[in-house]
Every structure is written in structure tokens, then in C-alpha cells.
């Protein structure tokens, strides 16, 4: 399968080829290993949406319009965030074979894993667009504003990458960061406007979207994907700053602590 790849001309540098190769293998490992294969990647967000829909629409009677789509956007972004942070805490251990015997840059390992997650996100996004346009009743339809999802996703990518650096560096010295992060993210999940109204969120926790960067990203993604609006620029720029700050912090930690990975893990 792998030797049949034909790459576009732009990919002539070995580094880009390698990132793409590693991302593809990672993606294949995750999805082709189980019986449902790629179908599983597509089914998972749909099943998540179905569960939350039953709980909040059928049982709790949420009055949000286009609630399934509302959930869909929140969940696919959240899942990417979770996979790229909680899912990569042990990356320096599982991918040890890549850096232990050569002078390969560790950054490439992280980027390729997140790229693999991005492939999954892309499939989910396509699913969402199909769902929103053909199934959802209260849909506004497609618009050029949808393209804003690209910078918003890049923002999430940078944020997750930075957090991944930080968490996996801590993991070298404190293994229970896995459990700590698990508790932290389950809190963050409920503090992000994924399945309730944004207005309820701001009423209860004013300005919290500036503390929780995932909240801002989800809010803006909904603006551009569902409501045909521009992103909230203030929040958009703030979240980019937030992400770059986390990335910067992560790079420092990876340089300081990550260098010891080969001997400590």
C-alpha cells in the first residue's frame, strides 16, 4: 500500500515526505487495524452526536435550533483536541524507536501524529458538511465564510501541539500526568460550550471563553460553519496569541526536559 504513493512535486524535500509518511502510517495503524476500518473514524462522531442528542434534546429538551449540527461542530473539534493532547502524552515512549537510534528531530514525531489526527478531523468535517447541508432542517447552507474554518483549525492545531509538547515532557518525569490531564480535560469538556447554549455559558462564567481557549475556537467554528458569520475577531486573535504562547512554552519544555527522553523512558 505504502509503496504506491505518488506525491505532488512540492513534496520533494525529504522532511515533508517523511512527515506525510509517518502521518499516514499512524492513521492506518489507528483505523485499519480494527474490523470496521475507516468506517469507524466516520461512525464515531455520528454516534457521539446521537448520544448527546438523545440526552439533551429528547430528555432535557434543549431549545437550541439545529442542535445536532451544533453538537457536531463542538464534538469534532473537541475530539481532535482530546486525541492530540491526551492521546499524545506517551508519545515519547511509544515513538521511541524513531528518535533513539538517529538524530531525527523530535518535533517531526509530534507534527506527524497531529497530522494523522488532522486527517481524521478532515473526514469528520466532510461528514459534518454533508450532514448540515442534506440532513439538517434548520441549515443556512454553504457559504464562502465556511473557509474560515481553516485558520480556526490551524489555531486548534497549534494549541494542541503546544499542549502535547508540555504534557509529554512532563510525562518523562511524572507518569501520572496522564490521570491528571484526564480529570482536567473532563472538567474542560463541561466548561466548553459543546452541548449547551453559548449565552448560558457567558451568563454563568463571564469572559471564561478567554480562559478556556477551546471555548473560543468552538464558538468561532460555529459562527463560520453554521451561522454564516465572520468569526468574533477579538476572540479569534486572542486565541491565536494563546496558542502561540502555549506553543512557545511547550518548545521550551521539550528542549529542557524532552532531551532526556532517551535515557529516562
Amino acid at each position: 500500500m505504502i509503496n504506491q504513493i505518488t506525491l505532488p512535486k512540492a513534496f520533494y524535500s525529504n522532511k515533508l515526505e517523511r512527515l506525510w509518511l509517518l502521518a499516514k502510517i499512524e492513521f492506518k495503524l489507528r483505523y485499519y487495524e480494527n474490523n470496521l476500518g475507516l468506517l469507524w473514524a466516520l461512525l464515531k462522531p455520528l454516534m457521539d452526536v446521537a448520544i448527546y442528542y438523545i440526552v439533551f434534546k429528547t430528555i432535557l429538551k434543549t431549545d437550541l435550533e439545529a442542535f445536532a449540527s451544533y453538537l457536531f461542530v463542538g464534538l469534532i473539534l473537541w475530539n481532535f483536541f482530546l486525541e492530540s493532547t491526551a492521546g499524545t502524552i506517551q508519545i515519547l515512549q511509544t515513538k521511541k524507536y524513531l528518535y533513539e537510534y538517529s538524530n531525527m528531530n523530535k518535533l517531526e514525531i509530534y507534527i506527524s501524529t497531529l497530522l494523522s489526527n488532522s486527517i481524521g478531523f478532515f473526514f469528520n468535517l466532510v461528514m459534518f458538511i454533508l450532514f448540515f447541508n442534506f440532513v439538517e432542517a434548520d441549515s443556512y447552507g454553504l457559504s464562502a465564510l465556511n473557509l474560515w474554518i481553516i485558520p480556526i483549525f490551524i489555531n486548534l492545531f497549534i494549541l494542541s501541539l503546544g499542549l502535547s509538547f508540555i504534557l509529554s515532557s512532563i510525562y518523562i518525569f511524572a507518569k501520572d500526568i496522564t490521570q491528571i490531564w484526564q480529570v482536567f480535560t473532563s472538567g474542560l469538556f463541561f466548561l466548553s460550550p459543546i452541548f449547551y447554549k453559548f449565552s448560558l455559558f457567558t451568563e454563568a462564567l463571564p469572559n471564561f471563553e478567554y480562559i478556556n481557549p477551546v471555548a473560543g475556537i468552538i464558538i468561532n467554528a460555529r459562527n463560520v460553519l453554521m451561522y454564516q458569520q465572520l468569526p468574533n475577531m477579538e476572540l479569534f486573535i486572542f486565541d491565536f496569541g494563546y496558542a502561540f504562547f502555549v506553543l512557545f512554552l511547550g518548545l521550551i519544555m521539550l528542549n529542557k526536559l524532552g532531551a532526556k527522553a532517551a535515557e529516562k523512558l
Binding site: 509503496n3 524507536y97 537510534y101 511524572a174 501520572d176 491528571i180 532517551a262 535515557e263
Partner: protein
Amino acid sequence: MEKEIAIKARNISKTFHISEDSHNTVKHRLFNLFNPPRSREVPALKSLSLEIKKGECIGLLGRNGSGKSTLVKLLAGVYPTDSGYVNIKGSTMLMNLGVGMSHELTARENIYVSGSVLGLKIKEVDALFDKIVSFAELEEFIDTKIKFFSSGMVARLGFSIAVNAGADVMFLDEIFAVGDAKFQEKAVKVFESSWIEGRTVILVSHSMETIRQYCHRAAYMKKGELKYFGDTGTAIDMYLADNQ
């Protein structure tokens, strides 16, 4: 004739801190804030400098625990040094028994990943692919995950990738213990062929024969110190004297 320098190490040293109880969790660290872990310091490598020129084959000798493997890992950039610096030109590859490969991947995937990590383009790996597989004698198991391989098969695959893909600077740590007699013969033959030309090779081995035959210079290490670096014969004599 002045040759280009491939590896330059200045005053590098390495000490391992081995703690007796594992302070490996946040909880444990918090509860023992005022009771820091007792750690033992193991000086694996005392201050050491060396220069290796491009295209040289260097033998590394010493008894177990003399710091050979640590030195190799420091030079290859796998471990950070405590002091000093290492300068290396080109890509490096460190080889010992069955390494640099993921057991979750198939032989095919491992060949592509390793090849790519060593700096080859996908097309170049395509071209080398059959050669790597046939050298490793693994034609029937290309699409088998290597976790189902025997240790000999894994080692053969690793050796074959190293020989055929190769990096500019190769660190070979006890690789001749790989495979059966027939494969070993083949492995040693690689050194006789032109493969070694133009590459910088650092060979760790307990086989005096191999080192005497192929190494231009040799280093002899004892207890983390570089005792001698120069003529191969002298280094071997010192090593043999130490073994008495």
C-alpha cells in the same frame, strides 16, 4: 592530506543519576517535597575529547561497563551531554540489536520509515526496497508485523536497512552478533566490499579480528575514560592486557 572532520567532541561527559526509589509521579513528588530522593551518581563518561575524520573507520574497545555504549549514544546525539559539545556532519544512525524499528509496523513500513529517517526520499527507498528485503532474507514476510518475527529476523532486517540505506555517520554497536553463521559471514563481507568507503563508521565490537582488519584507528576505554586513541594494534594490545 587534511581530511574533513566528521565528528568533533570536546570535553563531553555524562553522569547518570540513578534514584533508589521511583519519584515518578506528581503525587510522590508532592508528598516527598522535603525528602528528596536519594540518588546515586554513576559517572559513565569522564571528560573526553576526540575528533574523527570523514571516511574513517574507528574501532571502540573496552570491557563491559567501560562507557562504550554511552559514548556512542552521546556522539549520535541520542543522549544530551552534561558538559562540552558534539559536532556532527550529516545524518547519523545508531545500530545495535534489532533497533530503530517499531514492532507494531510491518517489515515494509519499517523499511520506509527507517529509510526516510535516514534521509532518503520515498523514491530512493522504492529503488532500494528489493535489495533490502533480499539481503535480510525476508521475502516471505514483507507484510508481516515485526512483532511476529523472531529476534534474529528483526536483527537481520535492521542490519539490512543500515547497510543498504545507511547514514553518513554509522555507529555500529555489537552488530556482528546478528543472525546465524551464514548471515554473519554475509555481514562481515559488507565490510570487505566498497560499502565502508566514504562513510564514517564507529564500530563497537569485542571481536578483535574484525577491528584489526577494518579499522583505521581504534580507541580503548576503561571506566569511563578514554585511555588511548590511535593505532589499532596498540589499542587491541591494551584491551587484551586489561582482560588478563
